[in-house]
Assembly symmetry: C2
Homo-oligomer: 282 residues x 2
């Protein structure tokens, strides 16, 4: 067995950028201290989840990767600790704005930027106001640890995202997230649905999944945590509750997952000739 | 609320065709007596799960729908009880053989035949010896109850099947199954994975799922039951264990599911332009 130690971080955020980056850095150090080589912070950890409202002032936060404080800080930290840090950030590219992820390698270099493909919109989650739907397509990153398949929050509900990443070679799926209560419906707790969708992706693609969510209450919107790491059969290896701050670490055996994936035969028996409806825009 | 009462049947089978059909008919009557309008028996209920071995004698069982004893019996029963019975059967069509499903309406007519698209192969499940991969594509059936989306066993592991059926209008997914222990690996119990994959489909597509599996031990191969009905959020509404014979019935609210599906926005936010990899045969 070649164990890969991975980690997810869960914490609450304020509107103080430097304070948030420092809090994430502390947990990254803790995870690295426990031996994690791949460490996933939550989505858009630089500040409050600003998509709760539609306010043009928030566009001031968007910057290119090479000037974004969260990305720059994680690059320095990754180089220092020799860890991979998939880093979610609000990206500006000329007139366009994206909900993006910089894949930072263990030398602190940016391997590439993925732009969130699926953009939600609903009470408390007005992302379509801020983010253009991503134009990068799904991106996988070959590393000595294995091939990494990141996606961002809303992407995590889409079987197409998980399948596309796995078909492109992903051996582990990574989902930074900011999700919580639904202001319009206090009875709707989507946390169990959120896990079910991703555990379904794990099983259907025979691939481990790491999900990192924020916690805390921001202007009445409560983020529900429940960050987890599961293996290629969907068994939970490590998890956090709705209010705990902290780090979860788990050992993944990607060689075993590869054998399981081959023996199940799901990919062998696919019928691409029958899947045309999935790519039709109707 | 317009409640649709649906049922799944779970039982063991012998090699006596008439006995098996009679046992299924008894449970169909029980389900209809409880008010179910749509009643799902397990896969290939006419006999033992013959795919455990490769034996040309079993091809004698394959018949066209209009001459197959299981289909004919369910047509009579559907007409008598005014219920829909999606009926799995071993179909012969000239030189070809398929693992098929006849959608029988509440007048006893065959609305159409779906041929299982994904054919497994592995120790104890030598289906590739018997069944040609289906050439019908995924089929949905519009009925006064709602639009039905049937698939067969191995299909149930595929996100593509569930998504394609839902995109084609399915408001409920139906999976007749024959699955159990893995003879080559006594430690591998796939029953929890089996449920996770389908519950993932329910959540990702915001659609209820009905799954009917067989039980009993056949020549050392134990079928693990765990038939269930879940709603569009993946919450289990009714279920059976690994050894119980019986009927489960649940009320589905397809209008509510339609509202949930719209409000989640999963279909609104799809990116067919990015899903090309899913249909590439590479």
């Amino acid at each position: 067995m070649s164990a890969l130690k991975v980690a997810a971080l869960q914490l609450a955020f304020s509107d103080d950028v430097q304070e948030n980056i420092a809090a994430v850095a502390d947990l990254v150090r803790e995870a690295a201290g426990k031996g994690a080589r791949l460490i996933l912070p939550p989505e858009l950890f630089e500040g409050h989840y600003f998509c709760r409202t539609q306010d043009e002032a928030h566009f001031a936060r968007a910057l290119p990767a090479d000037r974004h404080p969260a990305v720059l800080a994680m690059q320095r930290l990754a180089a220092e600790l020799n860890v991979y840090i998939p880093t979610s950030f609000f990206e500006a590219d000329g007139h366009h704005h994206y909900n993006s992820l910089a894949m930072i390698d263990d030398k602190g270099a940016i391997m590439g930027v993925y732009r969130k493909s699926h953009i939600p919109d609903g009470p408390g989650y007005s992302e379509k106001f801020y983010f253009r739907p991503g134009n990068t397509g799904f991106q996988t990153y070959r590393t000595p640890l294995g091939t990494l398949g990141p996606a961002v929050c809303w992407d995590q509900w889409y079987p197409e995202t998980a399948r596309s990443l796995t078909l492109q070679g992903a051996e582990i799926l990574l989902y930074p997230t900011a999700i919580g209560t639904e202001p319009h419906d206090p009875d709707l707790d989507t946390s169990r649905l959120w896990r079910r969708a991703m555990i379904g992706h794990a099983v259907s693609n025979v691939v481990p999944v790491v999900a990192a969510n924020r916690i805390g209450t921001e202007h009445g919107q409560r983020f529900y945590g429940h960050s987890f790491i599961c293996d290629e059969r969907g068994d939970i290896l490590a998890e956090l509750g709705a209010t705990e701050t902290g780090v979860i670490v788990a050992d993944l055996d990607l060689d075993q997952a590869r054998r399981h994936r081959a023996a199940f035969g799901f990919f062998r028996d696919r019928r691409p000739d029958l899947y045309g409806r999935i790519t039709q825009d109707i």
